[in-house]
């Protein structure tokens, strides 16, 4: 089975992500309570539930699904993560354009475009203690693995491992962006909620998009 990301794969990715966000609402909100305002879980869950609803009726290619996702997130999440995740998916959609499916490189390029959207919107840099710190290593790992000839499955797994590591690395960081930055030194020692949800996003991609072919 050749590794392509078609509409069905995108659907199962987003469905899985919605599920995982749903079952981690409390974790995400608790992390946000420690260094933010205790709403990241509720925010994202509200958004992904709306996405699930919107995608239930949208019958279309990956680009349209991703665009619907981005617009729905922008329109339902609010806060910082709404525009950021929204822009992420809108830029992914732009990159996917009207292709029926994305091959591994095209998918990696779309993910990278999403990341660049997050940066364009939020101007975060590495080490600022944000979702960037999970997404960027994931993109890097995916690109590297694919470049070095890894299978798509392995490359996705590498991306997920990198996202998790990036998420964990936010704990000792001093926040310089978002609400946590107001805490100054007191932001140190807490895992960033946005990096945590971003790691879930990459993990669900690895689970949903892998072809299941043995390496």
């Amino acid at each position: 089975m050749s590794a392509v990301v078609d509409a069905g794969a995108i659907r199962s990715w987003l469905g899985l992500f919605a599920e995982e966000v749903g079952s981690h609402v409390d974790l995400l909100t608790q992390l946000d309570a420690a260094i933010g305002d205790a709403d990241h879980g509720t925010n994202l869950d509200r958004g992904m539930k709306a996405v699930s609803g919107a995608l239930a009726t949208a019958d279309a290619e990956p680009g349209v699904l991703l665009k619907t996702t981005g617009m729905t997130l922008v329109s339902t999440v609010g806060g910082a993560s709404g525009p950021l995740y929204g822009t992420f998916f809108l830029r992914m959609a732009g990159s996917a354009s009207d292709a029926d499916s994305l091959d591994p490189d095209a998918f990696a390029a779309a993910l990278r475009a999403g990341l660049e959207g997050v940066v364009a919107r939020g101007r975060a840099q590495a080490g600022d203690k944000t979702m960037f710190d999970a997404l960027a290593p994931a993109c890097d790992a995916l690109d590297e693995a694919l470049a070095s000839g890894a299978t798509f499955d392995d490359a996705l797994r590498a991306a997920s491992v990198a996202a998790d590591a990036g998420r964990d690395a936010t704990t000792p960081m001093l926040a310089r962006k978002g609400r946590a930055s107001y805490l100054g030194e007191r932001s140190v020692g807490h895992q960033d909620p946005g990096a945590t949800s971003a790691a879930l996003l990459v993990a669900t991609a690895a689970r949903a998009l892998s072809t299941g072919a043995s390496p």
């Binding site: 909100t29 309570a33 420690a34 260094i35 933010g36 305002d37 205790a38 709403d39 509720t42 925010n43 509200r46 922008v74 329109s75 339902t76 999440v77 609010g78 806060g79 910082a80 993560s81 709404g82 525009p83 950021l84 919107r121 939020g122 310089r176 962006k177 978002g178 609400r179 930055s181 107001y182 805490l183 100054g184 007191r186």
Partner: protein
């Protein structure tokens, strides 16, 4: 969690039904969760839109009315509104003279208002408030939070718009108020976000959080509970260290309750603040005492000082007719 609510997810929608029922001179767009002046849009008048997460009431919905805001976009509790809401508010107040967005400086608020402005089919100028001296301002951070001064910007820019000034003039006045204002807050208790169900942070009986914002976020430092006179100093000193408030036409001193602190304590704090300002040689020309920009049920208070000049004094004194701030009308 003990609150006068039904399902946590319905708090905002149901509160807006109450706002609509209680205030016949307001119009509520329930779909977009926007509170409008009943007579918006006013032809030829600059439209004033603010908004942000809910849970800070009366900010912003309580400041909609003649002489202040034309519309307030109400996000979920502590979550900035989405661009759709802000866009609906912007369109609904567009009387042909452009629209001013008054935005508190939070990443989420700034981004959502920006996206709405990009989508708007009218001239929009945004003024971002960032008066909280608890937050270090530097090139590498997102800058200060917008807190108490937002109330003053809305009142004063509202008066400027009401008097027929142009969008750029109204924006200039709003920026001046922000530039001349500084705030600092402290919390005696945390607050409980309805959807979270438990206090955002735990605070022992003998500790307070100093340098808090308005979202139940922890402050800059945790210090032992102190007498009001010392707490007043913790708020006033960093403000005076940050900005010059002597001379001129005096200051507006604003002691704001965070939602759970009774008025008698706010007046007591006002006395302490007023005393400290007197000692520092600062003349208090106007005052405001009450819970105007809150953090749900948080106990605590903030102090905002605004350096006044003749123009700001006149605009502050101009008539205003909103549910939470009203005089001369």
């Amino acid at each position: 969690m003990k609150k006068l609510i039904n399902a946590p997810a319905d708090v905002l929608a149901e509160a807006l039904l109450g706002v609509e029922a209680a205030h016949p001179d307001l119009r509520v767009d329930h779909q977009n969760r926007v509170i409008f002046r009943g007579d918006a849009p006013r032809a030829g008048k600059v439209g004033l839109v603010s908004g942000g997460g809910s849970g800070h009431e009366p900010l912003h919905g309580g400041f909609v009315g003649p002489g202040m805001l034309d519309a307030a976009a109400c996000g979920e509790v502590f979550t900035s509104p989405v661009p759709d809401q802000i866009l609906a508010a912007t369109r609904g107040v567009d009387g042909g003279a452009g629209v001013l967005h008054i935005v508190k400086n939070y990443t989420g608020d700034v981004m959502n208002f920006e996206m709405a402005a990009e989508l708007a089919d009218t001239e929009v100028v945004a003024v971002v408030t960032d008066d909280d001296v608890a937050v270090q301002d530097s090139l590498y951070t997102v800058g200060r939070r917008g807190v108490g001064v937002t109330v003053l910007v809305e009142k004063i820019a509202g008066a400027a718009a009401e008097s027929g000034r142009s969008l750029s003039e109204v924006a200039d006045v709003a920026r001046k108020v922000n530039a001349q204002g500084r705030s600092m807050g402290l919390a005696l208790t945390s607050c409980t976000v309805p959807a979270a169900g438990s206090p955002t942070f735990d605070l022992p009986e003998d500790q307070i959080e100093v340098g808090i914002g308005i979202h139940g976020e922890p402050g800059r430092t945790r210090v032992p509970l102190a007498p009001a006179s010392e707490m007043a100093q913790m708020l006033v000193d960093p403000i005076l260290d940050d900005h010059e408030f002597t001379g001129g036409d005096g200051v507006l001193a604003f002691v704001n309750g965070m939602g759970g602190s009774p008025l008698i304590e706010l007046y007591l704090m006002y006395h302490e603040v007023n005393r400290l300002l007197g000692k520092a040689g600062i003349t208090v020309a106007r005052s405001l005492v009450g819970s105007y920009i809150t953090s749900l049920d948080m106990a605590g208070c903030s102090v905002t000082l605004l350096k006044l000049d003749d123009e700001l004094l006149r605009l502050w004194d101009a008539p205003v007719r909103t549910s939470a701030l009203r005089w001369g009308a």
